[in-house]
């Protein structure tokens, strides 16, 4: 069910292919997107820890900048926690500040 991808959005704004749940958004745009869900809420991850680089790495893509909320879909609370965790990990050279 790897459906059509919407243009733009860095390949991340997926076109949803789930039937039934296409509500209001689908009407307006020709290409509707899947509603983004906060990863931490969905997976019930309470602890965003700076030591857990495996968890943090997907949120610092190639340029090593923190992935904005509008793209990752993370909720405000978790984005805030994520940010402190990433900044701490950077201090300890677990995560880069920039990519060369």
């Amino acid at each position: 069910m790897n459906g059509k991808r919407s243009f733009g959005g860095g390949g991340r704004g997926k076109a949803g292919t789930q039937g039934g749940q296409q509500g209001k958004d689908g009407q307006r745009r020709p290409m509707f997107r899947r509603r983004k869900v906060c990863k931490f809420c969905a997976d019930k991850i309470d602890d965003i820890n700076y030591k857990d680089t495996k968890l943090l790495m997907p949120f610092v893509p190639e340029r090593a900048k923190i992935l904005p909320r509008r793209i990752s879909g993370t909720c405000a609370m978790h984005q805030r926690k994520l940010r402190t965790a990433i900044m701490r990990a950077r201090q300890l050279a677990l995560i880069p500040y920039t990519a060369e």
């Binding site: 700076y50 790495m57 701490r88 300890l92 050279a93 677990l94 880069p96």
Partner: protein, 148 residues
């Protein structure tokens, strides 16, 4: 009123194991002198640094969990700053965050139990019972392409 702190320090890769152990005892001594104690120590071993720090490309990471007061951590911070062998260190207070995490976790399990009981189910999830096992191949978070 003791607090819990986490201390991570990165030791220069040139340091021998004995020197790393020595640093640990130094920290321990300071802790004891100022009425704290080391809860646990975890040596992560040698890791590659995400960026070069001076001439170093890798370092030995050591994590210590310390019970103690702010004065103690101040002293440890000062000592680590002066030390030549240590290239980076970080002190974080963890007791408050930990209690928040525990609270949310408890609240979640309790509410899920209550809901399950209300539905006439046993309070804990049975093995083999999954809400949405079809989520496994979900591509919502295929941000994995950034792996380097």
């Amino acid at each position: 009123m003791t607090r819990k702190y986490e201390l991570v320090y990165v030791v220069s890769p040139e340091a021998t194991d004995a020197q790393v152990a020595d640093l640990h005892t130094q920290v321990e001594q300071i802790a004891q002198r100022l009425g704290g104690k080391i809860d646990k120590t975890d040596n992560w071993g040698r890791r590659k640094l995400a960026y070069e720090i001076g001439p170093h490309k890798e370092g030995t990471y050591v994590l210590e969990t310390i019970d103690g007061g702010g004065e103690l951590m101040k002293e440890i911070d000062r000592r680590l700053k002066v030390s030549d062998l240590i290239i980076r260190h970080l002190i974080v207070r963890i007791d408050e965050e930990q209690s928040v995490i525990d609270r949310t976790r408890n609240r979640r399990t309790e509410s899920s139990r209550r809901r399950r009981i209300a539905r006439g189910l046993p309070p804990d999830r049975q093995p083999g019972e999954g809400q949405r096992s079809d989520m496994e191949d979900d591509d919502r978070f295929d941000l994995g392409e950034v792996e380097r």
